[in-house]
């Protein structure tokens, strides 16, 4: 098959570490926007984390929100400019720690926005501290003996949680650890944008992603670790699809 770089990405070289799968997720978002023909009316909201510079990479209008506040900023933009396509791109530290309230309530309100949630089970940008999504017994800079759930509690499963929120329209967890899963991730991301175009409301796609640098692994070993550990603790699949269950 033919493959060439999408117009949804700018020419700026990505600053991400070698083998960091943030880059793959960027491409899937950019391709989806290009294929849906909405690049010229899309506003992306960057968050705080390694992906803070996404405003340099997506070929659409971008703003950058304070830590965790991207869904609130996106809500404002979408309500003021309902014809624009509005998305956020957030890490797990951003979305599932400091931004939990914004996430849950934008879902509860069924805001017609699309959230791309990159779960790499760690705080990447700040040097590898434990995140709400860090797995039990996972070693990080702030859990050097492994995450002890009796002291710091259990990981937050965002898709499972949001599937219980009546407002949320579409919630799916995907991964970018191999070609097949990347194709599935693309389909989910595109559908999340299609939903917004059709006014169906809140869509969130959680993407399991690697952080080779702070996991202390080679890019290939990081992919393997995602396979064997993350994808088992965070099962892939559709957690909510209001459209699909409407007639049940």
């Amino acid at each position: 098959m033919d493959f060439k770089k999408t117009k949804g990405l700018t020419d700026a070289p990505l600053h991400y570490c070698p083998g960091c799968t943030h880059g793959i997720i960027h491409r899937l978002v950019a391709e989806s926007l290009e294929e849906l023909g909405v690049l010229d009316r899309t506003v992306g909201v960057a968050s705080v984390g390694c992906s803070v510079f996404t405003y340099n990479y997506f070929n659409c209008d971008m703003v950058q929100a304070a830590h965790g506040r991207a869904p609130a900023v996106a809500t404002g933009i979408k309500r003021a400019r309902p014809d624009d396509i509005v998305f956020t791109y957030q890490g797990d530290g951003d979305l599932a720690a400091i931004g939990t309230a914004e996430t849950v309530h934008s879902a509860a309100r069924n805001e017609n926005i699309t959230i791309i949630f990159v779960n790499n089970a760690i705080y990447g940008m700040t040097g590898g501290q434990m995140a709400p999504t860090t797995l039990p017994n996972q070693i990080t800079q702030t859990s050097p003996y492994g995450r002890d759930v009796t002291v710091v509690g259990y990981p937050v499963k965002v898709c499972e949680m949001l599937s219980q929120v009546d407002g949320a329209s579409y919630v799916e967890r995907v991964a970018v650890n191999n070609v097949k899963n990347i194709m599935k991730a693309k389909k989910a991301i595109k559908k999340a944008f299609q939903n917004q175009i059709e006014g169906k409301g809140f869509s969130l796609i959680e993407v399991l992603s690697t952080c080779p640098t702070n996991w202390g692994k080679s890019p290939a070993d990081a992919i393997k670790w995602l396979d064997e550990n993350m994808a088992t603790y965070y099962p892939l699949g559709v957690y909510k699809d209001k459209e699909a269950t409407k007639n049940d």
């Binding site: 098959m1 033919d2 493959f3 060439k4 770089k5 999408t6 990405l9 070289p13 990505l14 991400y16 570490c17 070698p18 083998g19 960091c20 799968t21 943030h22 880059g23 793959i24 491409r27 191999n178 070609v179 990347i182 194709m183 080779p212 080679s218 890019p219 290939a220 992919i223």
Partner: protein, 68 residues
């Protein structure tokens, strides 16, 4: 036949394309690019089946696949 090209100076030598290729014809070269990484290269263009697995796996959109 397919033609695979690498935007070499954008490559970070991560090797994800190497593991993704079902024909095992992608490798990291001994050269160094302008960023100081060993860029990926194709060893046997004739054996390429044009599946684009390498390009789909590349985080930095270094790879272009053209069918002809």
């Amino acid at each position: 036949m397919a033609k695979v090209t690498f935007n070499e100076d954008r490559c970070k030598g991560c090797g994800l394309c190497v593991t993704a290729c079902p024909k095992k014809i992608v490798q990291l070269s001994n050269r160094m690019n302008s960023k100081g990484y060993h860029p990926a290269e194709i060893t046997n263009q004739e054996a390429c089946i044009g599946c684009a697995s390498c390009a789909i796996m590349c985080p930095d959109t270094v790879i272009t696949v053209q069918m002809k």
